[in-house]
């Protein structure tokens, strides 16, 4: 699965984005592109030290300033669904060696994920950590 496919699937979901400068942004993903540039809505920005907060209606973040994104657990299951749909092609056709759909997942792979969702709710809430660790 490609990281950008997961990100694309996360559209409409809340997420946390940490930038290289340590600032974090909590908001709903509106859109993203192949450079990982993202557009968030209803955003809360937290300063590097986690001591100041700003609310902004929306923001555009350039992909190359991102350190990581935290997305809701259930999004990964939705990617699988999409993948299954696009995987309905004759097996063994095309694709020179290498990855892609690979790793021997059958199309029913998505059903294999159980026992998740321990920590429901609240994900729209706080940053993973109250800001940075002051590094």
């Amino acid at each position: 699965m490609l990281p950008l496919s997961l990100l694309k699937t996360a559209q409409g979901h809340p997420m946390l984005v940490e930038l290289k400068n340590g600032e974090t942004y909590n908001g709903h993903l509106v859109n993203c592109d192949t450079w990982m540039n993202i557009h968030l809505r209803e955003v809360i920005c937290t300063s590097k030290d986690g001591d100041r907060f700003w609310r902004m209606p929306e923001c555009y973040i350039r992909g190359n300033t991102i350190k990581y994104l935290r997305v809701p657990d259930e999004v990964i299951d939705k990617v699988q669904e999409d993948k299954n749909r696009s995987d309905r092609r004759p097996p063994g056709v095309g694709r020179g060696r290498g990855r892609g759909g690979g790793h021997g997942h059958g199309p029913d792979d998505a059903s294999g994920r159980g026992g998740r969702g321990g920590r429901g709710g609240g994900r729209t809430g706080g940053p993973a950590r109250g800001g940075g660790r002051g590094r």
């Binding site: 192949t34 955003v43 907060f53 973040i61 609240g122 706080g126 950590r129 109250g130």
Partner: protein
């Protein structure tokens, strides 16, 4: 891929509105968006830079300096957001999880 236009955010809706821009290196400016291109070069009018803490250049202060009409180089733009509706707030995360 290179032919794809910047569709993530349509800056047209911000033209003649106040925007806040964060640049790589830590500078932060706000001004009225007068123009832009697909490389995210921005023209800001009546731009103001938020000065930074002398001890910690990553922290901005409320002190400003007036820059006037400026061009922000697209490659240096990290973040764009509308000034309208942006405000500093108290800690909205009552209980940070995982901490």
């Amino acid at each position: 891929m290179s032919g794809r236009k910047e569709t993530v955010l349509d800056l047209a809706k911000f033209v003649d509105k106040g925007v806040q821009v964060k640049l790589t290196g830590g500078r932060q400016v706000s001004g009225t968006l007068k123009g832009y291109d697909q490389l995210l070069n921005l023209v800001l009018d009546e731009a103001v830079e938020f000065l930074r803490d002398a001890d910690d250049p990553l922290k901005t202060t409320d002190q400003t300096r007036r820059l006037g009409l400026i061009v922000c180089r697209g490659t240096a733009v990290m973040l764009v957001s509308p000034t309208d509706g942006t405000e500093e707030i108290a800690n909205p995360f009552i209980q940070p999880d995982g901490a």
